[in-house]
């Protein structure tokens, strides 16, 4: 598995993804060369999968974000597949998760304003197949969102 150095490097990288291998090495107390090799190996092992740019949808004019918690009618064998396939076709859906629990699926939906949200909700969300129940949580503020692992 991982040793202490791997963990130190990944911790630093999670905290500041734009650091160079030399800077990461310095913070983890090793040479740039050693840091580069270690990170390369973490890549090869599929542990370090890459980096993704983060978009602030608010800056693009999407002021509304809603978590839709959906329960599906599981008497249909293909309820999940058909629901997910259709949900993928809605441009304003930014995340799709499936769960074991009281809720089956969560969709994250963004909209420019409440009128736009209402339009997406009525025309596209309510048209999704096999829904038994739907609940909405509207995001007021995001206090933490870094997806970092407690390494």
């Amino acid at each position: 598995m991982l040793d202490d150095l791997d963990r130190r490097l990944l911790r630093q990288l999670q905290a500041e993804p734009t650091l160079t291998a030399a800077e990461l090495g310095q913070r983890a107390g090793v040479s740039a060369l050693k840091a580069t090799r270690r990170l390369g190996r973490l890549h090869e092992r599929g542990i370090l999968k890459g980096q993704h740019a983060v978009i602030d949808w608010r800056a693009l004019g999407y002021a509304v974000a809603v978590s839709l918690r959906i329960t599906l009618d599981k008497t249909h064998a293909r309820a999940f597949d058909e629901f997910l396939d259709t949900a993928r076709g809605i441009a304003e859906v930014t995340e799709i998760q499936t769960f074991l629990g009281r809720v089956d699926v969560r969709l994250c939906v963004i909209a420019r304003d409440m009128a736009h949200y209402q339009q997406i909700y009525r025309k596209q969300i309510l048209a999704l197949p096999h829904m038994a129940d739907i609940e909405a949580l509207m995001t007021v503020a995001t206090l933490r969102d870094d997806e970092s692992l407690p390494l």
């Binding site: 598995m1 991982l2 990944l10 990288l13 999670q14 993804p17 734009t18 092992r45 599929g46 542990i47 370090l48 999968k49 890459g50 980096q51 993704h52 740019a53 983060v54 978009i55 602030d56 949808w57 800056a59 693009l60 004019g61 999407y62 978590s67 993928r88 441009a91 304003e92 859906v93 930014t94 995340e95 799709i96 998760q97 499936t98 769960f99 074991l100 629990g101 009281r102 809720v103 969560r106 963004i110 609940e135 909405a136 949580l137 509207m138 995001t139 007021v140 503020a141 995001t142 206090l143 933490r144 969102d145 870094d146 997806e147 970092s148 692992l149 407690p150 390494l151």
Partner: protein
């Protein structure tokens, strides 16, 4: 708010897929000169649309086999209790996301754990002991996909 054209959208899509690609690779992909590409990326950063990048790690390979989404209702409300709750919940290392929401719950959390036993430990020792915590609902994540959104 700024208006994006198709090239800006292509840049955003490319950087969301891979934020570490070189300026040469990015400009080649979208068919612009390097300086022109750089100017556009800089503009996307300066206007707050691109807000940084995130390291993507394979949580399962790092020993984090369980992700749980929690809905939390506060038992007591008032400004002081919100502040106390928010300060305490954002300090839990296993909590990756904290959202203040409107609806059935007051907060939405994303929690990682090594396994279900580890999750139970986090739930009992860290979440259920939060100041003001009331009803808690847990849904265990089975699958997840990030969509490009309205780009």
């Amino acid at each position: 708010m700024i208006d994006l054209d198709d090239i800006d959208r292509a840049i955003l899509r490319a950087l969301v897929r891979d934020a570490t690609q070189s300026a040469v690779a990015l400009s080649g992909r979208i068919g612009l000169s390097q300086p022109a590409t750089w100017r556009r990326v800089k503009r996307l950063r300066d206007t707050g649309i691109l807000v940084g990048q995130r390291v993507s790690l394979d949580a399962a390979k790092l020993g984090f086999g369980v992700t749980v989404f929690l809905g939390i209702k506060l038992a007591t409300k008032g400004r002081v209790s919100l502040d106390d709750f928010e300060r305490a919940v954002t300090a839990i290392p296993e909590v990756q996301l904290v959202e203040h929401v409107l609806g059935l719950y007051d907060y939405r959390l994303r929690v990682v754990a090594r396994d279900l036993a580890d999750f139970e430990r986090v739930l009992r020792r860290r979440v259920m002991t939060l100041p003001g915590v009331g009803d808690v609902e847990a849904n265990v994540l089975l699958s997840e996909e990030r969509r490009p959104g309205p780009l």
